[in-house]
Subunit: 228 residues, 2 copies
DNA sequence: CAGTTGACTCGTACAATGTACGATGCGATG
DNA sequence: CATCGCATCGTACATTGTACGAGTCAACTG
C-alpha cells in the first residue's frame, strides 16, 4: 500500500534529520536541488528555470522535486537566499575602521547579487530570507559600534539597504538587458534631441558604476555618522 | 478575403493615424487597453493580469488584444510607462529653491510608484521607458541649475535614482506582502534571539518610511551639492 | 450599386508549464 | 517474509499565451 500522506493537510517534512550515513547519498536533496537551480538561473535567467528542466539536470523525474519542495516559488526563495549568504571573513567586520567595515559589507552584498543578476529581479518580490536578515544584523552591529544611536539605527540601516538595493538592481538591469541598452545607445542621437540633459550627462553611456556606487555610499555615511 | 498581413514579418501598425472622428470610438484602443491593464494590476497584482481577463474587462475577445499589442510583455511595458508619467506642475520644478525642487521630483516619483505597488516589482526587469527618461531629464535639469558640474551630473543622477528605486521597491514590498510582514512581526521574539540588533532597532516594526526616505535623501543631496 | 480593400475582431486550437494523484521502489524493522 | 515510511516518477489535467485564419464592417473604387 502506498504510504499516503494522511489525506488532508499533511505537508511533507521537507527536511530529513540525518541522512543515515551508511546509505549512499540520496539521489535528490534540497541542497542539490537548490545548487542546481542556481546553476540554471545563472545560465538561463529567471524564465529559464522550469521544473522539468531542473529535474533533467538533476537526472530525476519532474515530480520528484515536489517531495523536497512545496512548489516552484519555494525553489526561487531558496535559490535567492542561498545566493545571498554572507561568505566573507568576520575579520573585516570587526575592523576598528567601521567605515571600511560598512563598505566591505555593502560592497560584498552588491557583488554577491551581481554575480547572479537574476537575484536583483527576484528580490523585490520576496520576503526577507534569513540570509538577508543576517546581513542586516551584521550591518546594524557595525553601525552600532560606530556610534549610531539606537533611535537612529532603524533609519540608518534602511537608508543603506535602500541605497544598495537600488544601485544593485539598476546595475543588474543593465547587465541583463545588453541589447536594450545597446539599442538605447544607438538611439542616443534621437535621445539627445528629446532629452538634452541626459545626452550631455552621457547617462546611458560611460557609466562608472562602481565609482558611482562608492560615492553615493560615502555621502550617505557622512550623513548617517556625522563624525569624521 | 481576409486582409492577411503579408505573410512573413509585417508587424501591425499599432497606431492609427487619426481615428476618423465621425465613427464612434472603436471598441478597443491602445489607450483603453493600457488603462484597463493598470486597473487590473491595481486590483490583482502582477499575476492577476491574464490576457483573457483583460479582454473580459474590455468586453472583447482575448485575441482581439493582439491586434493592438504584440504580446503580453508589451502590455506590461505600456502599463508601467503609463503609470510613471509625470503629471505634476512644472512650477515646482522651476522653483528657485532647487533643493525643494529635487525633493518634489523624487517624492512624486516614489508616490507614483507606491500608488501602484506592482510597478516596483515590474521595473527592475524593464528597459527605461520614455516616461522614466523624462523624469531623469527633469532631475538632471534641476541638478544642473543647482550648480552640479557636467562631469558630476552622471553620478549625481544615478545616485539619486538608485536611492529612490531602492527605497520605493523596499517600501512597495512591505505594502504587498502584509502577511509575510505580519508573520515577521509575530516571529519577532524568535528573531530577537538570532538577530538582536535587528530586534533592538525594531527593524521590522514601527517604520517611519517617509521620514527615512527624506533623511537619506537629505544626506545624499548634502554630498552631491556640497554648497548650502 | 457591386466589388474590393483593409482595419479590426474573435473562435478554435495548440504547445508549454505547474502540479495533483496515485502507483511504485526500496531499505529498515518486526 | 510482511510491513511501513521515505522517496521517486509516469500520467493526466487545468491554465495560460498566442498562432492561425475566418468573419465583420466601413470606406473607397469603378
Amino acid at each position: 500500500m502506498a504510504a499516503k500522506r494522511v489525506g488532508t493537510q499533511d505537508k511533507r517534512p521537507h527536511r530529513k534529520a540525518a541522512p543515515v550515513p551508511s546509505a549512499q547519498e540520496p539521489r535528490l536533496s534540497l541542497e542539490r536541488i537548490v545548487a542546481t537551480a542556481v546553476e540554471l538561473l545563472d545560465a538561463e535567467g529567471v524564465e529559464g528555470l522550469k521544473m522539468r528542466r531542473l529535474a533533467d539536470r538533476l537526472g530525476s523525474g519532474a515530480m520528484s522535486l515536489y517531495w523536497h519542495v512545496a512548489n516552484k516559488e519555494e525553489v526561487f526563495d531558496l535559490a535567492l537566499d542561498s545566493v545571498l549568504e554572507y561568505r566573507g571573513s568576520s575579520q573585516m567586520i570587526e575592523s576598528p575602521d567601521w567605515r571600511q567595515a560598512v563598505f566591505h559589507i555593502l560592497e560584498d552584498w552588491r557583488a554577491s547579487m551581481l554575480r547572479h543578476p537574476w537575484s536583483a529581479s527576484l528580490l523585490p518580490r520576496r520576503a526577507l530570507g534569513s540570509n538577508i536578515l543576517g546581513r542586516l544584523e551584521l550591518l546594524g552591529r557595525v553601525l552600532s559600534t560606530a556610534g549610531v544611536e539606537e533611535a537612529d539605527l532603524n533609519g540608518a540601516i534602511w537608508s543603506l539597504w535602500n541605497y544598495v538595493m537600488g544601485a544593485t538592481i539598476t546595475r543588474a538591469n543593465f547587465v541583463l538587458s545588453d541589447e536594450d541598452m545597446l539599442a538605447g545607445q544607438q538611439r542616443l542621437a534621437h535621445l539627445s534631441a528629446e532629452y538634452p540633459t541626459i545626452g550631455r550627462a552621457r547617462l546611458l553611456l560611460d557609466n562608472d558604476w562602481d565609482g558611482v556606487f562608492r560615492k553615493g555610499l560615502e555621502f550617505l555615511l557622512d550623513g548617517i555618522v556625522p563624525s569624521r
